[in-house]
Symmetry: C2
Subunit: 217 residues, 2 copies
Amino acid sequence: MFTLSEENYLKAIYHLESGSKKGISTNAIAKSLETKASSVTDMIKKLSEKEVVLYIKYQGVTLTEFGRKTAANIVRKHRLWEVFLVEKLNFSWDEVHDVAEQLEHIKSPKLINQLDALLGFPTHDPHGDPIPDKEGNVNTIDKILLSTLHKDESGFCVGVNDSSSEFLRFLDKKKITLGKKITVLEKEDFDDSLSIEIDGEKLSISKKIANNLYIKK
Amino acid sequence: MFTLSEENYLKAIYHLESGSKKGISTNAIAKSLETKASSVTDMIKKLSEKEVVLYIKYQGVTLTEFGRKTAANIVRKHRLWEVFLVEKLNFSWDEVHDVAEQLEHIKSPKLINQLDALLGFPTHDPHGDPIPDKEGNVNTIDKILLSTLHKDESGFCVGVNDSSSEFLRFLDKKKITLGKKITVLEKEDFDDSLSIEIDGEKLSISKKIANNLYIKK
DNA sequence: TATTATTTTTAGACTTGTCTAAAAATTAAT
DNA sequence: ATTAATTTTTAGACAAGTCTAAAAATAATA
Protein backbone atom coordinates (compact mmCIF):
# COMPACT_ATOMS: atom_id res chain seq x y z
CA MET A 1 0.00 0.00 0.00
CA PHE A 2 1.17 3.50 -0.75
CA THR A 3 0.91 6.74 1.16
CA LEU A 4 -0.76 9.79 -0.30
CA SER A 5 2.61 11.33 -0.94
CA GLU A 6 3.98 8.24 -2.61
CA GLU A 7 0.94 8.09 -4.86
CA ASN A 8 1.43 11.69 -5.90
CA TYR A 9 5.03 11.03 -6.83
CA LEU A 10 4.06 7.96 -8.82
CA LYS A 11 1.45 9.89 -10.71
CA ALA A 12 3.84 12.73 -11.47
CA ILE A 13 6.49 10.34 -12.80
CA TYR A 14 3.85 8.53 -14.83
CA HIS A 15 2.75 11.74 -16.52
CA LEU A 16 6.32 12.90 -17.10
CA GLU A 17 7.27 9.56 -18.64
CA SER A 18 4.65 9.77 -21.37
CA GLY A 19 6.53 11.71 -23.98
CA SER A 20 10.12 11.28 -22.91
CA LYS A 21 11.95 8.05 -23.46
CA LYS A 22 14.74 8.58 -20.91
CA GLY A 23 14.71 8.63 -17.15
CA ILE A 24 12.82 11.40 -15.42
CA SER A 25 15.07 13.94 -13.72
CA THR A 26 14.85 14.88 -10.07
CA ASN A 27 14.29 18.49 -11.03
CA ALA A 28 11.44 17.67 -13.40
CA ILE A 29 9.62 15.82 -10.61
CA ALA A 30 10.33 18.63 -8.16
CA LYS A 31 8.91 21.18 -10.57
CA SER A 32 5.83 19.12 -11.31
CA LEU A 33 5.08 18.58 -7.62
CA GLU A 34 6.14 22.07 -6.56
CA THR A 35 8.62 20.71 -4.08
CA LYS A 36 12.40 20.73 -3.65
CA ALA A 37 14.87 18.47 -5.44
CA SER A 38 16.20 17.21 -2.13
CA SER A 39 12.74 16.06 -1.10
CA VAL A 40 12.42 14.25 -4.41
CA THR A 41 15.71 12.42 -3.90
CA ASP A 42 14.50 11.24 -0.49
CA MET A 43 11.19 10.01 -1.82
CA ILE A 44 12.75 8.34 -4.85
CA LYS A 45 14.87 6.22 -2.55
CA LYS A 46 11.77 5.06 -0.78
CA LEU A 47 9.94 4.31 -4.03
CA SER A 48 12.98 2.47 -5.27
CA GLU A 49 12.96 0.23 -2.20
CA LYS A 50 9.27 -0.43 -2.80
CA GLU A 51 10.19 -1.55 -6.32
CA VAL A 52 7.97 0.87 -8.16
CA VAL A 53 10.80 2.86 -9.72
CA LEU A 54 14.22 2.08 -11.07
CA TYR A 55 16.71 4.55 -9.73
CA ILE A 56 20.35 5.14 -10.57
CA LYS A 57 21.97 8.05 -8.81
CA TYR A 58 22.25 11.15 -10.97
CA GLN A 59 20.48 9.31 -13.81
CA GLY A 60 16.84 9.96 -12.96
CA VAL A 61 14.08 7.38 -12.51
CA THR A 62 11.84 5.18 -14.60
CA LEU A 63 8.75 3.35 -13.45
CA THR A 64 8.91 -0.42 -13.15
CA GLU A 65 6.05 -2.41 -14.62
CA PHE A 66 4.54 -2.59 -11.16
CA GLY A 67 4.99 1.14 -10.72
CA ARG A 68 3.45 1.89 -14.09
CA LYS A 69 0.37 -0.16 -13.27
CA THR A 70 0.05 1.40 -9.85
CA ALA A 71 0.27 4.88 -11.32
CA ALA A 72 -2.13 4.06 -14.15
CA ASN A 73 -4.62 2.89 -11.57
CA ILE A 74 -4.46 6.22 -9.76
CA VAL A 75 -4.96 8.04 -13.07
CA ARG A 76 -7.85 5.69 -13.82
CA LYS A 77 -9.50 6.62 -10.55
CA HIS A 78 -8.88 10.32 -11.10
CA ARG A 79 -10.50 10.28 -14.53
CA LEU A 80 -13.45 8.11 -13.54
CA TRP A 81 -14.19 10.49 -10.69
CA GLU A 82 -14.00 13.40 -13.11
CA VAL A 83 -16.60 11.76 -15.31
CA PHE A 84 -18.76 11.14 -12.27
CA LEU A 85 -18.56 14.75 -11.16
CA VAL A 86 -19.54 16.05 -14.59
CA GLU A 87 -22.13 13.43 -15.50
CA LYS A 88 -23.80 12.85 -12.17
CA LEU A 89 -23.11 15.91 -10.05
CA ASN A 90 -23.34 18.70 -12.60
CA PHE A 91 -19.80 19.92 -12.23
CA SER A 92 -18.40 21.76 -15.22
CA TRP A 93 -15.17 20.48 -16.73
CA ASP A 94 -13.13 23.28 -15.20
CA GLU A 95 -14.24 22.44 -11.65
CA VAL A 96 -13.42 18.77 -11.43
CA HIS A 97 -9.65 18.63 -11.11
CA ASP A 98 -9.10 19.57 -7.47
CA VAL A 99 -11.85 17.30 -6.18
CA ALA A 100 -10.70 14.38 -8.32
CA GLU A 101 -7.22 14.99 -6.96
CA GLN A 102 -8.60 14.08 -3.54
CA LEU A 103 -10.92 11.29 -4.64
CA GLU A 104 -8.22 9.45 -6.59
CA HIS A 105 -6.62 8.34 -3.32
CA ILE A 106 -9.67 6.52 -1.96
CA LYS A 107 -8.86 2.85 -1.62
CA SER A 108 -11.64 0.47 -2.59
CA PRO A 109 -11.55 -1.68 -5.72
CA LYS A 110 -15.28 -2.33 -5.47
CA LEU A 111 -15.98 1.40 -5.34
CA ILE A 112 -14.13 2.00 -8.59
CA ASN A 113 -15.58 -1.01 -10.38
CA GLN A 114 -19.10 -0.01 -9.45
CA LEU A 115 -18.47 3.62 -10.32
CA ASP A 116 -17.16 2.50 -13.70
CA ALA A 117 -20.38 0.55 -14.26
CA LEU A 118 -22.61 3.38 -13.04
CA LEU A 119 -20.96 5.66 -15.59
CA GLY A 120 -21.35 3.13 -18.39
CA PHE A 121 -17.66 2.22 -18.66
CA PRO A 122 -16.47 5.52 -20.09
CA THR A 123 -13.28 5.55 -22.16
CA HIS A 124 -12.40 9.22 -21.77
CA ASP A 125 -12.61 11.87 -19.08
CA PRO A 126 -14.35 15.25 -19.57
CA HIS A 127 -11.17 16.73 -21.06
CA GLY A 128 -10.82 13.97 -23.63
CA ASP A 129 -8.04 12.15 -21.81
CA PRO A 130 -8.22 8.36 -22.01
CA ILE A 131 -9.17 6.34 -18.92
CA PRO A 132 -6.73 3.46 -18.29
CA ASP A 133 -8.42 0.07 -17.94
CA LYS A 134 -8.12 -2.19 -14.89
CA GLU A 135 -4.83 -3.58 -16.16
CA GLY A 136 -3.42 -0.12 -16.66
CA ASN A 137 -3.60 -0.15 -20.43
CA VAL A 138 -4.35 3.10 -22.20
CA ASN A 139 -6.03 3.44 -25.55
CA THR A 140 -4.36 6.38 -27.24
CA ILE A 141 -5.95 7.79 -30.34
CA ASP A 142 -4.03 9.70 -32.97
CA LYS A 143 -5.12 13.18 -32.06
CA ILE A 144 -3.32 16.24 -33.39
CA LEU A 145 -3.22 19.88 -32.40
CA LEU A 146 -5.66 22.19 -34.13
CA SER A 147 -2.67 24.36 -35.05
CA THR A 148 -1.33 21.60 -37.31
CA LEU A 149 -4.43 21.56 -39.52
CA HIS A 150 -4.11 23.22 -42.93
CA LYS A 151 -6.53 25.53 -44.65
CA ASP A 152 -9.81 23.81 -45.58
CA GLU A 153 -9.04 20.77 -43.44
CA SER A 154 -11.45 19.79 -40.72
CA GLY A 155 -11.73 17.42 -37.78
CA PHE A 156 -13.46 16.78 -34.49
CA CYS A 157 -12.55 18.35 -31.22
CA VAL A 158 -11.40 15.48 -28.97
CA GLY A 159 -9.33 16.94 -26.17
CA VAL A 160 -7.40 19.75 -24.58
CA ASN A 161 -3.68 20.12 -24.03
CA ASP A 162 -4.04 22.76 -21.33
CA SER A 163 -6.72 21.91 -18.80
CA SER A 164 -6.45 25.01 -16.67
CA SER A 165 -9.84 26.34 -15.69
CA GLU A 166 -9.00 29.63 -17.46
CA PHE A 167 -8.61 27.86 -20.78
CA LEU A 168 -11.61 25.61 -20.23
CA ARG A 169 -13.84 28.53 -19.34
CA PHE A 170 -12.64 30.34 -22.44
CA LEU A 171 -13.69 27.36 -24.55
CA ASP A 172 -17.07 27.32 -22.80
CA LYS A 173 -17.56 30.98 -23.64
CA LYS A 174 -16.76 30.31 -27.29
CA LYS A 175 -19.04 27.25 -27.26
CA ILE A 176 -16.16 24.99 -28.23
CA THR A 177 -16.88 21.60 -26.70
CA LEU A 178 -15.61 18.07 -27.26
CA GLY A 179 -17.21 16.27 -30.17
CA LYS A 180 -17.83 19.34 -32.31
CA LYS A 181 -16.58 19.59 -35.86
CA ILE A 182 -14.10 22.33 -36.69
CA THR A 183 -13.07 23.45 -40.17
CA VAL A 184 -10.10 25.71 -40.81
CA LEU A 185 -11.23 28.47 -43.17
CA GLU A 186 -8.09 30.56 -43.10
CA LYS A 187 -4.60 30.63 -41.56
CA GLU A 188 -3.05 34.06 -41.00
CA ASP A 189 0.67 34.06 -41.59
CA PHE A 190 1.70 37.03 -39.51
CA ASP A 191 0.26 35.87 -36.15
CA ASP A 192 -0.66 32.23 -36.88
CA SER A 193 -4.24 32.90 -35.92
CA LEU A 194 -6.98 30.77 -37.46
CA SER A 195 -10.35 31.48 -38.86
CA ILE A 196 -12.50 28.43 -38.18
CA GLU A 197 -16.04 27.27 -38.65
CA ILE A 198 -17.83 25.57 -35.78
CA ASP A 199 -21.60 24.96 -35.47
CA GLY A 200 -22.00 26.78 -38.79
CA GLU A 201 -20.50 29.92 -37.23
CA LYS A 202 -17.26 31.68 -38.11
CA LEU A 203 -14.77 32.19 -35.30
CA SER A 204 -11.29 33.67 -34.98
CA ILE A 205 -8.86 31.64 -32.88
CA SER A 206 -5.41 32.71 -31.65
CA LYS A 207 -2.30 30.59 -32.03
CA LYS A 208 -2.30 29.89 -28.30
CA ILE A 209 -5.78 28.42 -28.44
CA ALA A 210 -5.00 26.37 -31.54
CA ASN A 211 -1.96 24.96 -29.77
CA ASN A 212 -4.05 23.63 -26.93
CA LEU A 213 -6.95 21.97 -28.68
CA TYR A 214 -6.72 18.39 -29.88
CA ILE A 215 -8.40 17.35 -33.11
CA LYS A 216 -9.11 13.97 -34.66
CA LYS A 217 -9.51 14.00 -38.41
CA MET B 1 -9.03 23.68 7.82
CA PHE B 2 -8.45 20.47 9.73
CA THR B 3 -6.09 17.58 9.19
CA LEU B 4 -7.33 14.05 8.76
CA SER B 5 -6.25 13.24 12.27
CA GLU B 6 -7.97 16.28 13.76
CA GLU B 7 -11.16 15.39 11.94
CA ASN B 8 -11.07 11.88 13.35
CA TYR B 9 -10.67 13.19 16.87
CA LEU B 10 -13.53 15.64 16.38
CA LYS B 11 -15.78 12.89 15.12
CA ALA B 12 -14.88 10.59 18.01
CA ILE B 13 -15.61 13.30 20.58
CA TYR B 14 -18.85 14.14 18.79
CA HIS B 15 -20.06 10.55 19.00
CA LEU B 16 -18.94 10.17 22.61
CA GLU B 17 -20.73 13.37 23.62
CA SER B 18 -24.13 12.16 22.45
CA GLY B 19 -25.28 10.34 25.52
CA SER B 20 -23.05 11.74 28.23
CA LYS B 21 -23.57 15.21 29.63
CA LYS B 22 -20.12 15.68 31.13
CA GLY B 23 -16.74 16.21 29.53
CA ILE B 24 -15.29 13.35 27.52
CA SER B 25 -12.32 11.68 29.18
CA THR B 26 -8.92 11.26 27.61
CA ASN B 27 -9.17 7.52 28.05
CA ALA B 28 -12.56 7.32 26.38
CA ILE B 29 -11.19 9.07 23.31
CA ALA B 30 -8.08 6.91 23.30
CA LYS B 31 -10.18 3.78 23.43
CA SER B 32 -12.51 4.92 20.68
CA LEU B 33 -9.61 5.83 18.36
CA GLU B 34 -7.47 2.89 19.39
CA THR B 35 -4.59 5.12 20.37
CA LYS B 36 -2.76 6.02 23.57
CA ALA B 37 -3.93 8.49 26.20
CA SER B 38 -0.76 10.50 25.80
CA SER B 39 -1.45 10.98 22.10
CA VAL B 40 -4.94 12.15 22.95
CA THR B 41 -3.65 14.74 25.40
CA ASP B 42 -1.34 16.12 22.70
CA MET B 43 -4.09 16.35 20.13
CA ILE B 44 -6.56 17.85 22.56
CA LYS B 45 -4.20 20.74 23.16
CA LYS B 46 -4.07 21.40 19.46
CA LEU B 47 -7.85 21.20 19.10
CA SER B 48 -8.21 23.49 22.07
CA GLU B 49 -6.00 26.10 20.40
CA LYS B 50 -8.10 25.80 17.28
CA GLU B 51 -11.16 26.55 19.41
CA VAL B 52 -13.09 23.42 18.55
CA VAL B 53 -12.95 21.95 22.04
CA LEU B 54 -13.02 23.29 25.55
CA TYR B 55 -10.31 21.69 27.60
CA ILE B 56 -9.54 21.84 31.30
CA LYS B 57 -6.67 19.67 32.44
CA TYR B 58 -7.79 16.43 34.05
CA GLN B 59 -11.41 17.39 33.39
CA GLY B 60 -11.89 16.03 29.88
CA VAL B 61 -13.13 17.94 26.84
CA THR B 62 -16.37 19.23 25.39
CA LEU B 63 -16.95 20.45 21.85
CA THR B 64 -17.49 24.17 21.31
CA GLU B 65 -20.38 25.20 19.07
CA PHE B 66 -17.88 25.54 16.22
CA GLY B 67 -16.46 22.12 17.00
CA ARG B 68 -19.89 20.54 17.15
CA LYS B 69 -20.79 21.94 13.74
CA THR B 70 -17.50 20.87 12.25
CA ALA B 71 -17.92 17.34 13.58
CA ALA B 72 -21.57 17.16 12.49
CA ASN B 73 -20.47 18.11 9.00
CA ILE B 74 -18.04 15.21 8.88
CA VAL B 75 -20.76 12.86 10.09
CA ARG B 76 -23.07 14.35 7.47
CA LYS B 77 -20.57 13.55 4.75
CA HIS B 78 -19.96 10.07 6.09
CA ARG B 79 -23.66 9.21 6.08
CA LEU B 80 -24.40 10.76 2.71
CA TRP B 81 -21.59 8.74 1.18
CA GLU B 82 -23.01 5.61 2.80
CA VAL B 83 -26.35 6.27 1.16
CA PHE B 84 -24.59 6.81 -2.15
CA LEU B 85 -22.69 3.56 -1.89
CA VAL B 86 -25.84 1.58 -1.15
CA GLU B 87 -28.25 3.37 -3.46
CA LYS B 88 -26.03 4.02 -6.46
CA LEU B 89 -23.16 1.57 -6.26
CA ASN B 90 -24.91 -1.56 -4.98
CA PHE B 91 -22.94 -1.87 -1.78
CA SER B 92 -24.65 -3.76 1.01
CA TRP B 93 -25.06 -2.01 4.34
CA ASP B 94 -22.27 -4.00 5.94
CA GLU B 95 -19.71 -2.91 3.33
CA VAL B 96 -20.04 0.84 3.43
CA HIS B 97 -18.35 1.89 6.63
CA ASP B 98 -14.67 1.66 5.74
CA VAL B 99 -15.08 3.39 2.41
CA ALA B 100 -17.25 6.15 3.90
CA GLU B 101 -14.56 6.56 6.54
CA GLN B 102 -12.23 7.63 3.74
CA LEU B 103 -14.73 9.62 1.70
CA GLU B 104 -15.88 11.71 4.66
CA HIS B 105 -12.60 13.63 4.56
CA ILE B 106 -12.96 14.88 0.97
CA LYS B 107 -13.19 18.66 1.02
CA SER B 108 -15.67 20.17 -1.42
CA PRO B 109 -18.94 21.78 -0.36
CA LYS B 110 -20.28 21.58 -3.90
CA LEU B 111 -19.58 17.86 -4.02
CA ILE B 112 -21.64 17.24 -0.91
CA ASN B 113 -24.49 19.52 -1.91
CA GLN B 114 -24.77 17.87 -5.31
CA LEU B 115 -24.46 14.40 -3.82
CA ASP B 116 -27.26 15.28 -1.41
CA ALA B 117 -29.43 16.34 -4.36
CA LEU B 118 -28.53 13.27 -6.44
CA LEU B 119 -29.67 11.08 -3.55
CA GLY B 120 -32.92 13.02 -3.11
CA PHE B 121 -31.94 14.69 0.18
CA PRO B 122 -32.00 11.57 2.36
CA THR B 123 -32.63 11.98 6.07
CA HIS B 124 -31.10 8.72 7.26
CA ASP B 125 -28.18 6.51 6.32
CA PRO B 126 -28.50 2.79 5.48
CA HIS B 127 -28.29 1.88 9.17
CA GLY B 128 -31.08 4.24 10.15
CA ASP B 129 -28.81 6.91 11.61
CA PRO B 130 -29.94 10.49 10.96
CA ILE B 131 -27.99 12.66 8.52
CA PRO B 132 -27.17 16.08 10.02
CA ASP B 133 -28.28 19.00 7.84
CA LYS B 134 -25.94 21.69 6.49
CA GLU B 135 -26.13 23.60 9.76
CA GLY B 136 -25.24 20.52 11.76
CA ASN B 137 -28.72 19.95 13.17
CA VAL B 138 -29.84 16.40 13.73
CA ASN B 139 -33.39 15.19 13.68
CA THR B 140 -33.59 12.50 16.33
CA ILE B 141 -36.66 10.32 16.39
CA ASP B 142 -37.84 8.53 19.51
CA LYS B 143 -36.62 5.10 18.69
CA ILE B 144 -36.41 2.38 21.31
CA LEU B 145 -34.65 -0.95 21.54
CA LEU B 146 -36.59 -4.01 20.44
CA SER B 147 -35.78 -5.53 23.83
CA THR B 148 -37.92 -2.89 25.56
CA LEU B 149 -41.11 -3.91 23.72
CA HIS B 150 -43.63 -5.93 25.69
CA LYS B 151 -45.55 -8.96 24.61
CA ASP B 152 -48.04 -8.21 21.81
CA GLU B 153 -46.55 -4.79 21.13
CA SER B 154 -45.25 -4.00 17.69
CA GLY B 155 -43.26 -1.37 15.83
CA PHE B 156 -41.13 -0.67 12.79
CA CYS B 157 -37.50 -1.49 12.46
CA VAL B 158 -35.73 1.89 12.11
CA GLY B 159 -32.09 1.37 13.00
CA VAL B 160 -29.28 -0.64 14.49
CA ASN B 161 -27.28 -0.07 17.62
CA ASP B 162 -24.39 -2.28 16.56
CA SER B 163 -23.37 -1.71 12.97
CA SER B 164 -20.63 -4.32 12.78
CA SER B 165 -20.75 -6.24 9.55
CA GLU B 166 -21.24 -9.46 11.52
CA PHE B 167 -24.48 -8.18 13.02
CA LEU B 168 -25.65 -6.62 9.76
CA ARG B 169 -25.04 -9.80 7.82
CA PHE B 170 -26.92 -11.73 10.49
CA LEU B 171 -29.92 -9.43 10.00
CA ASP B 172 -29.65 -9.91 6.22
CA LYS B 173 -29.73 -13.65 6.69
CA LYS B 174 -32.84 -13.38 8.85
CA LYS B 175 -34.42 -10.97 6.34
CA ILE B 176 -34.68 -8.27 8.97
CA THR B 177 -34.39 -4.94 7.17
CA LEU B 178 -35.22 -1.34 8.02
CA GLY B 179 -38.87 -0.42 7.56
CA LYS B 180 -40.28 -3.82 8.36
CA LYS B 181 -42.93 -4.30 11.03
CA ILE B 182 -42.07 -6.47 13.99
CA THR B 183 -44.53 -7.81 16.55
CA VAL B 184 -43.44 -9.40 19.81
CA LEU B 185 -45.35 -12.65 20.22
CA GLU B 186 -43.61 -13.94 23.31
CA LYS B 187 -40.89 -12.95 25.79
CA GLU B 188 -38.99 -15.78 27.46
CA ASP B 189 -38.10 -15.01 31.04
CA PHE B 190 -35.17 -17.34 31.53
CA ASP B 191 -32.98 -16.07 28.64
CA ASP B 192 -34.81 -12.88 27.60
CA SER B 193 -35.18 -14.23 24.08
CA LEU B 194 -38.08 -13.05 21.94
CA SER B 195 -40.48 -14.72 19.64
CA ILE B 196 -41.39 -12.18 16.97
CA GLU B 197 -43.44 -11.97 13.82
CA ILE B 198 -41.95 -10.32 10.76
CA ASP B 199 -43.26 -10.59 7.17
CA GLY B 200 -45.95 -12.91 8.50
CA GLU B 201 -43.26 -15.34 9.65
CA LYS B 202 -42.39 -16.40 13.17
CA LEU B 203 -38.81 -15.92 14.31
CA SER B 204 -36.84 -16.47 17.48
CA ILE B 205 -34.51 -13.64 18.48
CA SER B 206 -31.86 -13.68 21.20
CA LYS B 207 -31.48 -10.99 23.82
CA LYS B 208 -28.32 -9.75 22.14
CA ILE B 209 -30.11 -9.17 18.87
CA ALA B 210 -33.05 -7.47 20.56
CA ASN B 211 -30.64 -5.16 22.32
CA ASN B 212 -29.20 -3.95 19.05
CA LEU B 213 -32.26 -3.29 16.96
CA TYR B 214 -34.08 0.03 17.13
CA ILE B 215 -37.84 0.16 16.83
CA LYS B 216 -40.28 3.01 16.33
CA LYS B 217 -43.81 2.36 17.55
C1' DT C 1 -8.21 10.84 56.17
C1' DA C 2 -4.38 8.24 54.66
C1' DT C 3 -3.27 5.13 51.28
C1' DT C 4 -3.82 2.76 47.10
C1' DA C 5 -5.41 2.57 42.40
C1' DT C 6 -6.51 4.83 38.30
C1' DT C 7 -6.34 8.46 35.10
C1' DT C 8 -4.00 12.07 32.94
C1' DT C 9 -0.12 14.65 31.74
C1' DT C 10 4.76 15.42 30.76
C1' DA C 11 9.23 14.34 28.89
C1' DG C 12 11.77 12.44 25.54
C1' DA C 13 12.09 9.61 21.42
C1' DC C 14 10.76 7.93 16.72
C1' DT C 15 8.78 8.17 11.78
C1' DT C 16 7.25 10.56 7.66
C1' DG C 17 7.77 14.06 4.69
C1' DT C 18 9.52 18.27 4.15
C1' DC C 19 13.14 22.06 4.10
C1' DT C 20 17.94 24.77 3.71
C1' DA C 21 22.67 24.83 2.97
C1' DA C 22 26.68 22.62 1.53
C1' DA C 23 29.10 18.94 -0.99
C1' DA C 24 29.52 15.96 -4.97
C1' DA C 25 28.60 14.69 -9.63
C1' DT C 26 27.34 15.78 -14.20
C1' DT C 27 26.89 18.76 -18.15
C1' DA C 28 28.08 22.84 -20.82
C1' DA C 29 31.30 26.10 -22.54
C1' DT C 30 35.37 28.34 -23.42
C1' DA D 1 40.45 19.51 -21.51
C1' DT D 2 39.87 22.56 -17.93
C1' DT D 3 36.85 25.64 -15.93
C1' DA D 4 32.20 27.22 -15.04
C1' DA D 5 27.35 26.31 -14.52
C1' DT D 6 23.88 23.23 -13.39
C1' DT D 7 21.91 19.30 -11.34
C1' DT D 8 21.69 16.04 -7.80
C1' DT D 9 22.72 14.24 -3.44
C1' DT D 10 23.93 14.47 1.46
C1' DA D 11 23.70 16.27 6.06
C1' DG D 12 21.21 18.17 9.48
C1' DA D 13 16.94 20.39 11.07
C1' DC D 14 11.93 20.88 11.72
C1' DA D 15 6.66 19.92 12.24
C1' DA D 16 2.97 16.53 12.80
C1' DG D 17 1.49 12.69 14.97
C1' DT D 18 2.52 8.91 17.42
C1' DC D 19 4.74 6.05 21.20
C1' DT D 20 6.88 4.48 26.02
C1' DA D 21 8.04 5.40 30.57
C1' DA D 22 7.77 8.25 34.41
C1' DA D 23 5.60 11.96 37.11
C1' DA D 24 1.51 14.35 38.72
C1' DA D 25 -3.26 14.71 39.69
C1' DT D 26 -7.61 12.72 40.74
C1' DA D 27 -10.66 9.09 42.40
C1' DA D 28 -11.54 5.10 45.22
C1' DT D 29 -11.08 2.54 49.44
C1' DA D 30 -10.00 1.05 53.82
